[in-house]
Symmetry: C2
Subunit: 263 residues, 2 copies
């Protein structure tokens, strides 16, 4: 079982996903919002790349059966019911509704990550443990796709990927912090590297994500605050969103995108 | 002053380098070998992408005035004097000679990183502090280019980039580990993010590299051992190379590529 991490969704080569378990992380905020809406009882979430397509889809649905949600530049789209704050997607608002969502980055990343498989888990800090369990159960090679921010590496998505890896290691009886306690001497050079055996191979980007997880796991909010996107949201007055999105394992559901919808 | 880290040399967009300080890291082993050869008194190092071009260049030089060095698949090129182990480039072998070097990854990465500027620092664990000093003196935006391994993120190059950032922060009176000691509460959400002010902005990939540096700085060899490329070299019996390449600040020279040669 091989674990790789892709830093930005735009960098996915289609063939790399075939017959693998794929998770997409856009934790500020699309992933967190989607998980929250589903946990709060919405019927389904339909990710749509273009705003116009979102309105067009809505016109096909019965009045009152759907919610239009999402953002551009972190701001609610004009004419939508909701923005992209997970805190807006309460049970009283979304229960039994179809949520049509369109965000700058996340909805595109889901489509990229779907690749040929067509199936993608939606991961965030809110559901790291549950995602890890789902991946361990499937026993396939794993690709953790970070949405990234404007085509660049994002600290917060990679942190979430690392926290999933940390939990995943438990299923292989590995202590993720093991490396710290080993002797670093010439003798050690003769030993087998800790991360690679027949059962589990962590690629370098996965090891780096795991190290981020160790740094921030006791205070994931710090990782969000250290990220440029987190700082932008803070400037926009969205501190409560950062606070919520940093709640590690607050939810237990693992949303799955398949056949154009997330359940 | 903005600090960015590019995970693989192939991902450089030419325009991103214009009027910036650029460092290339291929610490296993091209960067380490180049720095060592220059520290041991070679006249110059000329990086060449193709093996045939290396032989052609050598034919233009007086017999005995040059050394042909490099590897393909970590193995010495047939007909070359030396492979790509920095330990081979001793003063008695390279003093006053022109070193023509061609490696799978590193020489290509230098050319990519040169971009329009044409000027690239060669960084490794061996000279992190000196590289940081050179960057601080220049006061330009900084791009740290990791060569990567076969087009993928490499743990060891990113670690070296992180250790340069760690040293760089000292010039801005910042404590790189500051984040750990702060209070993580709602109040903190109101504070200014630690890494970004008018003087110094760390992009997310730079923060992540810094976190890797914190993890491994007391034992950089562990970072090399955790990397897939390090493990490959270990399997090839090159433990002594790993050991040498992990010597933090063993050298003080900062090689510069400009006008087709490294001095």
């Amino acid at each position: 079982m091989r674990v790789s991490v892709i830093a930005t969704a735009g960098n996915i080569a289609g063939e790399a996903l075939s017959n693998k378990s794929v998770v997409m992380f856009d934790i500020l905020r699309a992933s967190s919002t989607i998980s929250t809406a589903l946990a709060n009882g919405c019927k389904e979430v339909i990710p749509v790349i273009d705003v116009e397509d979102a309105f067009a889809l809505a016109r096909q649905l019965p009045e009152g059966s759907f919610i239009l949600g999402g953002e551009r530049g972190a701001i609610k789209v004009t004419g939508f019911h909701l923005g992209n704050s997970p805190l807006e997607y309460t049970a009283s608002v979304v229960k039994d509704k179809t949520v049509i969502i369109s965000t700058t980055n996340g909805t595109k990343a889901i489509r990229y990550a779907a690749g040929e498989n067509g199936r993608v888990f939606i991961g965030s800090l809110l559901n790291c443990s549950s995602v890890a369990k789902a991946l361990a159960d499937l026993s396939k090679d794993i690709v953790l796709v970070c949405a990234g921010t404007r085509g660049k590496f994002s600290l917060e998505d990679t942190l979430a990927a690392g926290l999933v890896i940390k939990d995943l290691l438990k299923f292989f009886n590995k202590n993720p912090w093991q490396a710290k306690t080993q002797e670093h001497n010439k003798f050690y050079l003769e030993e087998t590297p800790i991360f690679n055996n027949d059962a589990l191979i962590l690629e370098d980007a996965a090891v780096a994500a795991l190290r981020l997880a160790e740094y921030y796991w006791q205070s994931p909010i710090q990782g969000l605050l250290d990220s440029l996107h987190g700082q932008k949201l803070l400037q926009l007055g969205l501190a409560a969103d950062l606070d919520y999105c940093s709640k590690l394992n607050h939810l237990t559901n693992v949303p799955v995108f398949f056949n154009d919808k997330i359940l």
